[in-house]
């Protein structure tokens, strides 16, 4: 009885204030009710932001144990794996990403990111963890081209020539061409279309360094033409730009010009570089 009275008097005291804020509250959307475990996820995120990876991982594990049917389970699984990765526990992270991908194949954005991160973990563990290289090789068949290229780049970093075909495909993908051409050159691969020798074309880069008697000649297949800029210093690149030379259109230009044509000739005082089509 006393408790009921007390509540009634409290309600009476707060009524005017409630009336005052009522119009404002009516405009704002009602705050969504906190889902079970939200506080735990917030805590895990705060720990992650503080780079307290181990505790963050424990918080995510606790969430997964206590709320296995929550709608936020995919998110928790993903961040658990990411936390393990940040903590450089590569094998555990790889296993956690695989668990996430196996349990939630429908997650598009998180799934793609999980695959890329998984490739990274495997890449770091190549030659050390038994599942790493086979995992990367299997990923060369992934439906997402960028994921395939990421796996091929990791294999190429370890000098694995099985990456070559995927890297060649990566030359055609937007945003991956530079990385793939560098990796292919690193593997000592010259890519060229299987055409008759009379029709085959190369970029020939002749570099004459000041104080050296010989001219160094580099031959690049047209598919790797984008790497030609790497043979130019910054000063030479600026010269090329000042001449209106567009390195991004090098392949097209080299295809249309007759053999023997000089595409570019620049000199920065330290070296002179001439690029011809042959």
């Amino acid at each position: 009885m006393l408790r009921a009275l007390a509540l009634a008097s409290c309600a009476a005291l707060t009524a005017p204030a409630a009336l005052l804020v009522a119009p404002v509250a009516a405009l704002a959307p009602p705050a969504p009710p906190a889902a079970p475990g939200d506080a735990l996820l917030r805590q895990a995120k705060a720990l992650r932001y503080a780079q307290r990876w181990f505790e963050a991982g424990q918080a995510y594990r606790q969430f997964l144990t206590e709320h296995p049917s929550s709608g936020r389970v995919p998110e928790a699984r993903f961040w658990l794996a990411a936390t393990l990765e940040s903590d450089q526990r590569w094998d555990e992270a790889a296993a956690a990403y695989q668990a996430f991908l196996g349990a939630h194949p429908d997650q598009r954005l998180l799934g793609r990111e999980a695959k890329m991160n998984l490739v990274r973990c495997w890449g770091i563990r190549q030659g050390q963890a038994p599942g790493a290289t086979p995992g990367l090789l299997a990923t060369l068949q992934d439906p997402i081209p960028e994921v395939r290229v990421a796996a091929a780049l990791q294999l190429a970093k370890a000098g694995d020539a099985r990456a070559v075909e995927t890297l060649k495909q990566g030359l055609q993908l937007p945003g991956t061409g530079d990385a793939c051409s560098l990796a292919l050159i690193g593997l000592g691969v010259q890519t060229g279309q299987p055409v008759a020798a009379s029709q085959a074309r190369f970029l020939v880069i002749r570099i004459k360094e000041a104080g050296k008697p010989d001219t160094v000649t580099i031959r690049l297949a047209l598919a790797l033409a984008r790497a030609a800029g790497n043979y130019l210093s910054d000063a030479q690149l600026k010269q090329a730009q000042a001449k209106g030379f567009d390195l991004s259109g090098l392949t097209d230009k080299a295809t249309t010009l007759p053999k023997g044509s000089t595409l570019l000739s620049v000199d920065d005082g330290k070296s002179s570089v001439a690029i011809t089509v042959e």
Partner: protein, 227 residues
Amino acid sequence: MTPEPDPLTRDAQAFDLLEHPEAWPEDPALQAELAALLELHLALHAHPEVGEDLDATGPVRPLSRSFPWLMSAAAVLLVAVPLAYHAQNVRTMAEMSRNQARIQDLAQKRGQDRLWAGFFQQSSLLIQDFAKRPAACTSDKDNEDRSAEREVAFALLQASHKLSAQGAPGPDAEAVRSDLHAWLMELTLEDPCLDPRRAQELRQWANAHNLEDEAQRLGNLLKGETL
């Protein structure tokens, strides 16, 4: 024990043998060589003035008698000159090969550094943009429209994956890339219509790790001429 005959006597005996084909050994190869020498010997006899010129400057020794020495010298020259040429050629080729490998390595490093520099510079610009006050979302006026930044973050995140696969130019570059990667991942996985409190968290995170300055510093460092 018979004394060793002096070289002149040995040469004389050899020339005697040359002038008596009936005493030549049976071996056809040897016979052919001796026949060639005989031919040369006879030709020199037909031009004695060559021998006279030589005799005027030294002790009396007919050219025909010193001929084996000349032949040996010629043989040595015949072997030595191509060998010396070959050795020089090998040295030149090795030097060129070393130069080519060095230039290839430098070009690889230059290409890699440029990719990393581009990533750091664009990340730095994105963090700058993220600090600015954005437009409100059309659907929810209380939230920030971060769709443009989110798209850039996604592209940079993909670039970060590739850079990670390629290997870093240095440990500090890898450490900053890793921090940027985590930040980019957070932003990419957020709703494009971002809660201002969440945006503030992301800004604070970037500030706490000094991401903008570090990215700018490394971008400038790697963009510098490295060759």
